[in-house]
């Protein structure tokens, strides 16, 4: 099986990481935030779909543009569906308040009432086979109700805002749940091989064993 190397593109406004995973002339995108760098990177590539790791505005604010300009289908976890459509849940309405406390990016985005939709809702535990590669979808509530992690070939974990190396998981935002994180997400993360690479929604990739862990 060919080895995949995710390409990471950082959007400066919220410091969001967009990842492009390419194989055999095809690609898919995780948390697509359109900017000149991403547009350049996907030129001439057949993008099969994009996946949203969760419903928060900083990760979804290009979805409508992406669909209109490129016609790329957007997937998200089942539990993120309502948040995509609700500006109070996806936080677009509260950006001006929220950006004071986000430690990533320039914050050059203002509050608005943003909503978008997904073309396909991914089930917890669903396996997508893409170009001979396996994508395992796991609901990881805690940071938000609709958070998912995507495991590619048991090798790479795309974690959105579920875990970071240098920051604790923000579970006290609206829609977050400290209890769900401790009862569902942490045990699952603990059960994984700790030497897999994690590609988070902000900041640098790291090894799973290096994650910020309040229990340690």
């Amino acid at each position: 099986m060919e080895t995949l190397a995710p390409t990471r593109i950082i959007d400066e406004r919220f410091g969001v990481n967009t990842y492009i995973i390419s194989a055999s002339g095809h690609a898919f995108i995780i948390d697509p935030v359109l900017n000149p760098k991403l547009k350049e990177s996907i030129e001439g590539i057949s993008i099969d779909f994009s996946i949203l790791t969760h419903e928060h505005y900083d990760h979804i604010y290009s979805v409508n543009e992406l669909k209109a300009e490129y016609g790329i289908p957007v997937f998200c976890g089942e539990s993120a569906k309502n948040g995509l459509m609700d500006p109070a849940v996806n936080m677009s309405r509260y950006v001006d308040f929220l950006k004071q406390y986000i430690p990533f990016g320039t914050g050059e985005v203002d509050s608005c009432d943003y909503s978008c939709g997904a073309d396909r809702l991914l089930k917890n535990g669903e396996m997508i086979v893409w170009q001979g590669h396996k994508l395992f979808i796991k609901e990881t509530p805690g940071h938000s109700k609709g958070s998912i992690c995507i495991m590619l070939n048991d090798q790479y974990l795309f974690s959105g805002d579920t875990i970071f190396k240098e920051y604790p998981t923000a579970t006290r935002m609206p829609g977050g749940s400290t209890k769900a994180f401790k009862n569902i997400t942490e045990p699952w993360l603990d059960s994984l091989p700790q030497d897999i690479m994690v590609y988070p929604g902000h900041t640098e990739p790291f090894m799973l064993s290096e994650r910020y862990n309040t229990n340690h």
Binding site: A88, R93, F97, Q100, M173, P174, S177, T178
Partner: protein, 72 residues
């Protein structure tokens, strides 16, 4: 909505055990009334009560009862 029901909503929003809050609870004594707690309160008031909370209004809140009165 009754005040006990509103208090239960606040406890759920701030992930506090049932019975933690009373109308007289002083907000400055609550660890949960930090920036994230305030944001959750803004969303709660917007979503559940259709009330827009401003930073100035939040600053003026002293006790849980002040929040309950704002909720209406």
């Amino acid at each position: 909505m009754t005040n006990p029901e509103k208090i239960a909503l606040l406890e759920e929003t701030w992930e506090l055990d049932e019975g933690t809050l009373t109308e007289d609870t002083v907000l400055a004594d609550l660890d949960e009334f930090d920036s994230m707690g305030k944001l959750s309160l803004i969303v709660l008031c917007d979503d559940e009560f259709g009330k827009k909370l401003t930073g100035e209004t939040i600053k003026a809140f002293q006790t849980v009862k002040d929040i309950l009165d704002f909720m209406g």
